[in-house]
Structures are given as structure tokens and as C-alpha cells.
Point group: C2
Chain length 304, copies 2
Amino acid sequence: MSILIVGSIALDSVITPVEKHDDLLGGSASYAAVSASFFTPVNLVGIVGRDFPPEHLDYFRSREIDLAGVESADGETMRWTGEYEWDLNVRHTRAIALNVFETYSPTIPVGFREPSIVLLANIAPALQSHVLDQIERPGLVIADTMDLWINIANADLMSLLKRVDLLILNDSEARLMTKETSLIRAGRKIQALGPAYVAIKKGEHGCLLFGDGEFFSCGAYPLEDIHDPTGAGDTFAGGFAGYLNSLASAEITFQDLKRAVVYGSVMASFNVEAFSLERLRTLDLAKIEERYRIFKAMSHFEEI
Amino acid sequence: MSILIVGSIALDSVITPVEKHDDLLGGSASYAAVSASFFTPVNLVGIVGRDFPPEHLDYFRSREIDLAGVESADGETMRWTGEYEWDLNVRHTRAIALNVFETYSPTIPVGFREPSIVLLANIAPALQSHVLDQIERPGLVIADTMDLWINIANADLMSLLKRVDLLILNDSEARLMTKETSLIRAGRKIQALGPAYVAIKKGEHGCLLFGDGEFFSCGAYPLEDIHDPTGAGDTFAGGFAGYLNSLASAEITFQDLKRAVVYGSVMASFNVEAFSLERLRTLDLAKIEERYRIFKAMSHFEEI
């Protein structure tokens, strides 16, 4: 059974201190869908403009991503320009043009309305809620968000959170949302806002997962060379949700969620090795599982 | 066989946004020695002034710390005043008075000169080298350092590193020393400067351990309430080195070093729960091992 993924599809310009690339395939749903597609078939919902290169759509199709929910509208595809400092953790948004996304309201095709898992990739929380209005209650609702929505659409976000089973956000966003400096307190506070589970991503430092009285601290896969951090969070979310969907299980355990965090981290670690989704294009499940095993060996320590 | 620990013994004033305490027992060797004493007997080398409260010496003795190497000199004990911001990761040194430490040159008692392991707690690298000049080559030389020495005594530090088996430093110090933003590259570069092993502490994010083609990524023990981060690094170093010394093993394996990182992290996690060494006073090995086991459960994830 396919996972439903809704989010943005964009054309990005990305500048780092060493490289600059224009018109890259980007957007939260693009990264998340391709990442999930290594684990499970994907039903994608989003919007593109007339200028969207057909080869990107072909690439999605080659990954068994069903595009029945991708509208092609009059106008231009959403565009984002971002620049990274030498410390690639510091990013500046230089330009954003919503274009066809500005008036977009996602419509879920009838065939997509009973998903086992839905991943609401990072878009405005009102749109994420609108997606949930159209679908049967799935096994698991996973949502990603960002600082922008905490700042400008907090009421929408709080109302969304009551309908979300698992929220993914990064450490600075968790602190912003809760006004707590301790990530442990922040995670617990977010759980009290609705989600039974919270995953707080810490970039190069890994990820914390909060459950019902359960907790998982996952390191990050160590990388010497990071070329483009764009989409790392979306790729994490896609790998995380895609792996869970592949279990086709009515009952998802905390052990499953821990494994999903590791798969998400592995997918993000590959993604940042090249610009846009380039690294994912040459990836296969064997390479993903190899890195999972290395990850486990690097994090493992013996009993007393 | 006892571990040899050399470093500073001080009286600290610590200010946080919620509390202020004066005349606390402090100094790199105080924290390291007490932390190590939970695992192994300790031979301590350092200096105090005439004003040093005798009850602190009694406390050291009660922990089976041999004080034959602690000089009591005319003058005042070293004093340090530090203030933390709301984000307890940000610390400002408000005052430092070296006092009797200013002209101190550590003399290692004859009975201490053949240690199995020596821990050179954080003091000037020239003094650390001077300690090594006086002792038989031990099984393992572990050194801690800080940004100050990288900035003002870099040549001394580089010369020390050639004689060190394992260097402990934090992430910003590793970046400062190597001019690398990637901690993975930084760790490898530091290995090339001498130490076969490097432990890079990442505060609330855990620790990276670099060996000969081996690597360990350790998360941090999650804490909701941190009262005083002072001495966390020294307590880590003491627990790390003390545990290794307790193995009484001629051959220390990478598995041993990984366990030592976890013990060090556990000791640091206790230490920050109260001011000065207060939390260590009520600690015992059973509580340490209980937290080790929780730590393992929180970091563990299943095979594919």
C-alpha cells in the first residue's frame, strides 16, 4: 500500500561558498517522495507550473511515484534561492517566489484518500490540515514543519498538532515553539500539544525521538564532506515515513520508530553528499542497508 | 594500581541566571580525581594555598585519593569566577587569580612515577610535558586541553601532543586547533599531530571517539535540569580514565575505550545536576551503572 506524501515541488538555486547551481529540482515533497520511494510506493500530491521540466516528472515516475495528485497549473513553478555560509549549518533564504503555490489548495485524488501513512511534508499548516480533512484517518499522520510557520501561523500549527501522531522538527524550531532551552523538556512539551511522538533533528548531531515514556537518542552518520544541506530534513522525513510504511503493520512499535529514525538519518546523510537530489539518483537499497549497518557499528557499545 | 592525575585545584565562584555560589571546590584535577575515584584509586598531584579548606582535603582522602603529591604553598589557592548565560552552553570567565599556581611546577612523588595510566587534566601544556618528563612511560597518556592553550601556547601544545596517546577536547576547540568545520576531518587531523586516539566532546550532543580506522559516535545522556556545567569536561575525563585504569589491562581495546566514553559521559551527566562536586558526593557505583544501562537502552536500535 502506498504512502501519501503532500508538500512543495520547487526549482531551487543553491549557493555555497564553493559552488552555485540554478534550477535544481527541489521542494519538500520532491525530497521526501524520492527518499521514501526506496522503501515503499509513493502517492505524491503537489503542484508545478508550466515551466517545470518534464524530465523531473519522468524521474519521479521512474521511482514508482504516482503523480495522479500532481497538478500542472498555468504559471511558474515555486522557486527558492538559498545561500550557505562556510559553516553549512547557517543558511540564508535569498529569494522565494511561491508562484503557482501561492493560491494552491491540495486536492487529494479519490484513490489516494485511504493511505496507511500520510506524510505532511513542510508546507503551511493550514494546507496540511486541509489534506487531513480529505482523507480517512490513516494508521499514522506524520508532519514536518519549520520556524516560518511557528512564527507566522502558530494558531494553524497548534490546531494541526492535535491531529498529528508524529511531529518532525529541528532543535532550534523545538526551542522556538516551546521557549525551552532543554531539548528534553521541549520534546515533552510538544507531546503535550498533541503528537504522541516527536522527532527533534539536531543536524550533524543526530536526532532525539520521544514516545510514551520512551526515548531514543540517535547520533548522526559522520560525514567528512557535505556539499549541499538542502533537503536533508525532507529526505530524513521521507526515509523515516517510507520505511514505516514498508512494514505494512497495523501496530507500529517504538523499536520500529527507532529503526525509522536511523533510516531517515541514513537517507539524509546520502542526500547532503551532492546538490539537489543528485546523490539519491545513484542510490539503491543495498547501499542504504550497508550504511545502516555501519551506523549501528559506530553507535554500538558493550554492556558493563 | 593507582591512576596518576595532575591538574589544578581551585576555589570557584559560579554564577548562573538562577543561583550564585562562592568558594566552591573546583579545578580540573579536583573534578577529575573525584570522578575517577569511583572506579580506581587515585594519586593526585597539584597545589593549594594556605586558605584551602581542610575539609576538601578530607573529602579527597575519603575517596581514596592519595594526596602525597598535593603541595600546600604559602599564598592563596587558585580562584576562578565564571558566569553562565540562560543558555548554559555560553560561559564567561569573569575573573581568574592563579595565586599559588602562578609559579607552580608539578613535582611527581617517587612513589607516583610508574603509573599505569596518567591523566593530564587541563593545565598549561608546558606543565603537562613537565609531568611526562618525570615519569616512566605509562600504559596510556591521556591529556585534556582547552581553547586558551590553543591560542596562547600552541607550540607547547603541539610538542605535548607527540607524547600523548589520547587527547580530549571539545568541538569548538577541535575546530579552532585544526581550522576544520567538519568534526570528522578535525578528529583525523588531530590524530596526525600525535595522539592515536582523540575524543571530541560535543556538550549536550555527546562525544566522538577516533581510533586507528575505528570510530564511535556516542550520544549524550539526556538531562532536563542542568544546574552547573562547571567541571563537566573534567568529570568526563576522570570517569573515562578511571574506568580504563580499573581494567588493569596491558592491552586496551577500542571496545574498552567506547565503554570509557560512556562512563565519562555518565559521570559528567551526574556532575551537572548540582553545583561544584555536590552531586558526586552522594553518588555510588550502583547509581553509575544504572545510568550506564539506561544510556545503553536509549542509544540502542535493532538490526535491519
